[in-house]
């Protein structure tokens, strides 16, 4: 699996062949607070880069989840739907959101690496 890349909307993405795994970052969970609800894109649906791909809700508010890349949803993580608190505990591993069959790998080029993202997150945390 490739090294994770990151979007300005605080999603991470890892590529394995033409399958991408996507979730939200640790930083995102810290901003959101305790997550109590998640809605994932439907299996078999097609999502477009930067388009809507689900919702997370904390006790405070609802936030949209965007996909950093286009593709067909081949898997979604039901375990976080049943237990959204997992997203706070392990957002960048166990609590992935969905997997896509990627259309165009070059879409990843515009995303940030870990170092760039950490800098971005720090600057945008207030």
């Amino acid at each position: 699996m490739s090294e994770a890349k990151y979007s300005k909307e605080h999603e991470w993405i890892k590529l394995d062949g033409d399958i991408a795994t996507i979730g939200i970052t640790q930083h995102a969970t810290e901003m959101l607070g305790d997550i109590v609800f998640v809605e994932l894109p439907e299996l078999g649906s097609n999502v477009e880069k930067n388009g809507n791909a689900g919702v997370v809700e904390s006790t405070k508010a609802a936030s949209d989840v965007y996909t950093p890349i286009s593709g067909e949803v081949v898997e979604n993580n039901q375990s976080i739907v049943d237990d959204p608190a997992k997203i706070n505990t392990d957002p960048e591993n166990e609590a992935w959101f969905f997997k896509l069959r990627v259309k165009d790998k070059t879409e990843l080029d515009s995303l940030m690496n870990k170092e760039e993202y950490n800098k971005f997150a720090k600057e945008n945390s207030n």
């Binding site: 305790d34 109590v36 809700e57 006790t59």
Partner: protein, 368 residues
């Protein structure tokens, strides 16, 4: 305009508070522990809330004051016992609610605790309504600290002797570090608890003592989930100037005697609403599944007719389910009526529910 800070501001920061602007004050929405932990700490142990942004109004006067306040408020005040607290409303002639408040009879007159966002306008209005012979002081020198939860009494008793003898909705003057402070047994979380009115300069040290005795700080976020589980209204959301106490399902706060004899602002409207009924009424709403319906969510009946709107909604950490309140047409307000909530363009099933969502199960005779 810069936000005001309460006397606990640096303490909030010390405990990792995320500070937000609330009613003109910089207030903690949560601390480093997070809303769910803070919520649970209140239900299981004892939570400390800085509610110093709320207004503490003191009205001084002789025996005639109670009667004059009864011309404004629908509470029965002339028969209030010393240190007894009553929940009431400041209304307009149309029974629209300017504010909801707690009035306590004290030796010099009455203390009133007002909502932060309303306190200045309440003060102006009351100054107009009340004879100028009564002195009115909206305190800037006092902090207000709430401690709530099953261990609140035990913890506070260690610091201030005698508080655990207070009865619910009653207050008293207590000696603390050679000063008199006023404490009431009340709160807004569905738990047993106290509200302590203490001078600003001693507030931080006092709260630190509560923390050292085992209570923990709780922010506005958990205050909201706690009060919503307890079925309690938040002013500006579940009630406002366009709703009456009858519509807000708070008729219980107006005694039979006052409904019978009137003589307060908004009485005619209240009387007519009680006699003829209201078209919309506040209800509890329980979504099926995990979907959260927040403020302004539209409510539909089974025939897809819009019958109302959610005024507060969140996930209840103690009931482990989403909870909401809102106003629906009276016809659909019966418990267990099936309704639909439109969230992000989709309609989700829910039902009208009894309030509160969370009920304390008191255990009698257990003391450790």
């Amino acid at each position: 305009m810069d936000n005001k800070k309460t006397a606990l501001n640096s303490l909030h920061k010390k405990y990792g508070a995320k500070l937000v602007s609330f009613a003109g004050y910089e207030m903690p929405i949560q601390y480093s522990t997070g809303i769910i932990e803070e919520h649970k700490s209140t239900r299981e142990n004892a939570g400390i809330f800085d509610v110093s942004h709320m207004g503490q109004l003191f009205i001084k006067g002789d025996d005639t004051l109670a009667k004059n306040l009864e011309r404004i408020f629908p509470a029965e005040l002339s028969n209030a016992k010393l240190n007894q607290s009553k929940y009431s409303f400041l209304m307009n002639e149309e029974a629209g609610i300017y504010d909801d408040l707690i009035i306590t009879k004290v030796e010099s007159g009455f203390n009133i605790v007002l909502n932060a966002a309303c306190k200045d306008s309440d003060f102006k209005l009351l100054s107009k309504l009340l004879d100028s012979k009564y002195e009115m002081i909206l305190s800037e020198e006092l902090s207000l600290i709430a401690i709530q939860g099953p261990k609140a009494a035990k913890i506070l008793e260690k610091i201030i002797n005698g508080v655990s003898d207070l009865k619910f909705m009653n207050g008293g003057t207590f000696n603390y570090l050679n000063e008199n402070i006023y404490i009431t047994r009340s709160g807004y979380t569905g738990e047993d608890g106290f509200e302590i009115s203490i001078k600003n300069d001693g507030a931080e040290a006092f709260v630190q003592k509560l923390i050292d005795e085992g209570a923990s700080l709780v922010g506005l976020g958990a205050r909201d989930t706690l009060r919503l589980e307890a079925g309690l209204c938040l002013y500006g959301h579940d009630m406002d100037i366009n709703k009456s106490p009858v519509e807000a399902n708070l008729k219980w706060a107006i005694s039979k005697n006052r409904i019978l004899n009137g003589g307060f602002i908004g009485f005619e409207k209240i009387k007519s609403q009680i006699e003829k009924g209201v078209s919309k009424v506040r209800v509890g709403i329980k979504p099926e599944g995990r979907i959260i319906a927040r403020e302004k969510t539209s409510i539909f009946n089974k025939d897809d007719k819009n019958i109302g709107e959610i005024t507060s909604g969140t996930f209840g950490p103690s009931v482990q389910a989403p909870v909401a309140m809102g106003y629906v047409e009276n016809l659909f307000s019966k418990i267990d009526t099936k309704v639909f909530l439109e969230v992000r363009g989709k309609k989700y099933p829910a039902s009208i529910s009894n309030l509160p969502f969370y009920k304390k199960s008191y255990v009698k005779g257990v003391s450790k």
